[in-house]
Amino acid sequence: MDNRNILVIGAGVAGINASLSLADSGRKVYLVEQTSYTGGTVIKFEKVFSNLECATCMVAPKQQELLTKENIELFTITEVLKVEGSLGNFVVKVKKRARYVDLKACIGCSACFEPCPVSVKNEFEEGLSERKAIYIPCPGALPNVPAIDTENCVRFNGKDCKLCEEACMFEAIDFEQKDEEIELKVGAIVVATGFSSLDPKEIPKYGYRKFSDVYSALEFERMFASNGPTTGEIKLRNGESPKSVAIVHCVGREEKGYCSTICCMNSLKFVHYLKEKLPDVKISEFCSDLCIPGKSYEKFYEQTKTMGVDIIRFDDIAVKEEEKGMSVKYKIDDKGGSLPVDMVILSPALEPRKDASKLAKILGISQDEHGFFAEKHSEIASVETSREGIFIVGCAQDPKDIQDSVAQSEAAVGKILSLGG
């Protein structure tokens, strides 16, 4: 292979893992990340199934290693614009947007947040709390350096505001920073761009965004997170603790036409979350099939059942508003029922990211009928694509759990390093 550098797109768990392995082998890695932080979706979780390990504790050492590894160059707030060439000789153009904060000078003291006059919904916190226009997504985010959201910043919308710059003792804020277009020459590309969650709003029968206490899985994760908007308190919008919760699996399964693999386990994990904070809460899990394959998952299911949760199967389901709270109306074969609940947590389908098509075109790789990047052969070449030298790993290829995403990231490393050169 001519050029030994590697481009990894996406600094989630899979992307970080691939980058570290490749760097360990002596390759130079360009890791391009769209957001201002590393860790992807996994750092939004408080715990992971099925060992209920603290997600941050698990990922933080890798994120730290990433930031200090010499032959990894991390580009945040960066996207890929163009890819030309072939295996061993790719020429990639990326657009590195300005952070407006100097990564080297900033020490992460957060003095610049307070004076900022802007307050908008924090996307990382799934809209459950607000952030400033100069912000880090959550406490403990890495790199621990804020970015300026130019869309909402008043200065970048015409006003002469320098409050953040004035508050900074390290001269780390630089409004003069410019977006850069950078050309990278690499021998292979690993696409680890992860997934999106289906917006349950698209399926009105679940009452999402209609009724006040219907939450998506990621919203509930942030609610439970010790570094989240409620520092782990599980509360309804009216401030009370829920007494009965319904967790609904398979949201969007029928519409999307596939099972998203991880929701059953994730939903069972939520039982542990709920019982930890609210030991007497009544929990019902609604599912069509229990998808818990593998040597460890059924054990977790059995253990979770003993904590006091009803598993209710359904063919058809909807959430209805009641005078007080809501009810979950479900049907299985000819029978059915209605369960009154205070809170509903929805487990929505995992889908390709909104920009998957755009990226597929840039990379010159195909997508399957659902929009996931298409593998070369689903059985024997699941991390390769039709374009030699471009690999797809993790949920960008197919919904899967962390273990399989990490295995795929290592597999891509294996394929790349075995090409020699």
């Binding site: 390990e53 941050t56 504790c57 406490p139 403990g140 010790s226 570094n227």
Partner: protein, 141 residues
């Protein structure tokens, strides 16, 4: 002039989880009583009983050993051993004439800045109630 009793607490924090939580508490500017002297170790399993005993014999009012939650240990099983040793230590402390509550083992994960603050604050309060280590005046090592 004798001020209110300011406890001297030694804290052995594991590098991967609790020390990170302590740092996070710091970055989040969470205020704590100044009673804890932090000593960083790689794993809670590193804390050998002799170290803890010596601390008490030198007059520590309290000793806190903190590590990753069971199952989260960076070295897989270290904290399970810490838990076992700690249980044994508790009874040994009693033989020194010290209240075993002066020794505490806590599990604090890397994202739990608030919990760290809570543990330090509550442990300090507990030690304040227990009073000064009676060995303070007796031994000199």
């Amino acid at each position: 002039m004798k001020d209110e009793f300011a406890p001297k607490i030694v804290g052995f924090l594991c590098n991967w989880c609790t020390y990170a939580a302590a740092d996070l508490a710091g970055t989040s500017k969470l205020k704590m009583p100044p009673s804890l002297a932090v000593i960083r170790v790689m794993c809670s399993s590193r804390v050998d009983p002799v170290l803890v005993m010596r601390a008490f014999l030198r007059g520590a009012d309290g000793v806190l050993v903190a590590g990753c939650h069971p199952g989260d240990c960076h070295y897989e099983k270290g904290n399970y051993y810490a838990r076992r040793r700690f249980a044994l230590l508790k009874s040994v402390i009693e033989t020194l004439g010290l209240d075993s509550e002066r020794l505490q083992l806590s599990w604090i994960g890397a994202s739990e800045g608030y919990r760290f603050q809570q543990v330090v604050t509550e442990f300090t309060d507990k030690i304040k109630k227990l009073g000064q280590n009676p060995m303070q005046k007796k031994t000199s090592l």
